[in-house]
């Protein structure tokens, strides 16, 4: 199998490196880490490793997750595998490279410490080629504002688990607009609906991590 295909296969399977026990049938075999190192040594362009190996693999992972063919644990392995390759090629990717699709500021709103979903969204966005500014959990509106001021080109993703905490999303959007910042906002989380997104003036909504990638692309006008 050509090396880029092998990298892609390992990311889809969630096989990080030779020491990784997942998946069982690949135990002891080279994983994304070794294969990426090999590809760099062989002189394969890092752009190709990213665009023909890592990113298309995570697209497949997202589709499999959406179809309930894999679940959160398997997706975490794939994300970790992708990250192990991404870390190796990052030093070679130039700042402002057009390989970076865009920037996404992301955080779980104040009062809410839930972040499995938020982290999956980060992983999928990163896997799709976005640069992430992960603010973390329990983020008050002024912190979103500060991040938006520092990254005017970024879109903003907000997550909440509860009806009571999702109300805080509205405050963030109001604060952004009062300060005349026009960063587009998309939201998600268990209680969040498209109707709620519309009601609070968010430009986008995503039901899951894979949809978040599609929504980020839509908001930044990037063709799939």
């Amino acid at each position: 199998m050509p090396i880029l295909e092998s990298i892609k296969h390992c990311v889809v399977q969630g096989h990080i490196d030779a020491t990784s026990k997942f998946p069982k049938n690949m135990e002891g075999q080279e994983g994304v880490r070794e294969l990426t190192k090999q590809a760099i040594t062989d002189g394969v362009a890092v752009e190709d490793i990213l665009m023909k190996g890592l990113i298309p693999a995570m697209t497949i992972v997202g589709q499999r997750y959406e179809k309930n063919e894999i679940f959160v644990p398997e997706m975490l392995f794939s994300a970790k595998a992708m990250k192990s390759g991404l870390e190796l090629i990052k030093p070679f990717l130039l700042e402002g490279s057009d390989l970076i699709l865009g920037k996404v500021i992301i955080g779980t709103v104040q009062g809410d410490l839930h972040d499995i979903g938020k982290n999956l969204v980060c992983m999928m966005l990163e896997g799709a080629g976005f640069e992430i500014v992960d603010l973390g959990i329990n983020i008050p509106a002024p912190k979103f504002l500060e991040a938006a001021k520092n990254n005017p080109e970024a879109i903003i993703g907000m997550s909440a688990l509860l009806t009571v905490t999702m109300k805080n999303m509205k405050g963030v959007i109001e604060l952004l607009r009062v300060n005349e910042l026009d960063n587009k906002v998309f939201i998600g989380g268990a209680p969040v609906t498209p109707a709620f997104a519309e009601e609070i003036g968010a430009e986008g909504y995503a039901k899951n991590a894979n949809q978040a990638v599609r929504e980020a692309k839509r908001l930044l006008d990037i063709k799939a």
Partner: protein, 342 residues
């Protein structure tokens, strides 16, 4: 409050949970926040006697009691300006048991630590027309909360023996609770709650759930069957992938809470309504944000689904937290009591 509208009839409630013929819709709720109880009653509802009076006044046929136990997970507190109460959360990364060393060091609760005094008190005080639901759960949830979700996910594949040992520890304790509750003749319903799904699907693979959690549920189901009492299962999310096992192997009689973002009540009724009593379904989000008139209309839609057929216990699509509007909660109950009969 509403005791003039309906007197409790626990036998009727039990029959509805068994999905047998009923001529009106009973009420059900997994949890009602202490602040909500206080807002409605004008005083704290703390003792078993208070609990009976509170549930009776709202039109419920039961009180729900849990054994006492404390299992340390790894929780943080979040403050939220929208509500008075702070909220605790489990860490999704770090746990208190992350490997064999921490497993061995952990001070595990023993079966002898389990405490049933409130339950026994309830058995003595419950009036003849009401009944007691014995409730516990969270074998799966406690395992991942104790391990942190990411670590739990990794260990599922990297150290399945550790995962298995965790399920043995927690499952053994929780099963012992149900064994004791089923042996108490005043416990007339068993209720196991454990979230295994999101609105888009199961959190982990159906095979993992079948291998690690369902053997315990099957044993709890056998206890209920032996005592000839209903067995309610609660999980958020979409459960279609494991519905056949829940019904045929585990033998649940009733399913709660039927979240509208996950499973449509009418569709679920069509698919499994001949086998299960469905419980809950009224959107907590709507109970928080809609008007009372909208809640009455929403409740009427659910009543129409069950009218003439039964097989539905009315309640929220999860529980009643402190941030639900009290007037909406009461509007839902009043509509069921006034219009949920035929």
């Amino acid at each position: 409050m509403f005791s003039h509208l309906r007197k409790p009839n626990f036998e009727h409630f039990q029959q509805t949970l068994f999905n047998k013929t009923s001529d009106y819709i009973p009420l059900i709720e997994l949890g009602i926040h202490p602040d909500m109880r206080k807002a409605i009653m004008g005083k704290s509802v703390t003792s078993v006697k208070d609990e009976i009076a509170f549930m009776r006044s709202l039109g419920y046929d039961f009180i729900k009691v849990q054994p006492g136990i404390h299992l340390e997970t790894n929780r943080s507190i979040a403050k939220n300006a929208n509500v008075a109460a702070d909220r605790s959360w489990s860490s999704e990364h770090d746990g208190v048991v992350t490997d064999w060393e921490s497993f061995e060091k952990y001070q595990w609760a023993k079966i002898s630590d389990l405490e049933y005094s409130r339950m026994e008190k309830a058995g003595k005080l419950i009036p003849d027309d009401m009944g007691i639901i014995g409730q516990y759960g969270d074998i799966y949830t406690t395992v991942w909360e104790m391990m942190g979700f990411e670590n739990f996910s990794m260990k599922m594949y990297e150290d399945p023996e550790l995962i298995s040992a965790m399920f043995d520890k927690i499952g053994g304790l929780v099963f012992s609770m149900f064994e004791t509750m089923a042996s108490m003749d005043f416990v007339k319903v068993l209720w196991y709650s454990d979230d295994i799904a999101y609105s888009s699907g199961l959190m982990v693979s159906p095979d993992f759930i079948r291998e690690n959690l369902f053997p315990y549920l099957k044993r709890i189901g056998e206890l209920a069957k032996k005592s000839n009492i209903p067995f309610i299962y609660h999980s958020d999310g979409v459960l279609y992938d494991v519905m056949p096992e829940l019904i045929n192997d585990i033998g649940i009689t009733s399913l709660h809470p039927v979240e509208p973002l996950s499973m449509d009540m009418a569709e679920l009724k069509d698919r499994v309504g001949d086998k299960l009593c469905l419980c809950g379904g009224i959107d907590v989000d709507q109970l928080c944000r809609a008007t009372s008139d909208e809640i009455r209309d929403l409740t009427r839609k659910f009543i129409e689904i069950a009218k003439g057929k039964g097989g539905w216990c009315a309640g929220s699509s999860n529980s009643i937290p402190e941030y639900v509007k009290p007037e909406n909660y009461l509007a839902m109950i009043e509509t069921v009591l006034k219009e949920g009969q035929w």
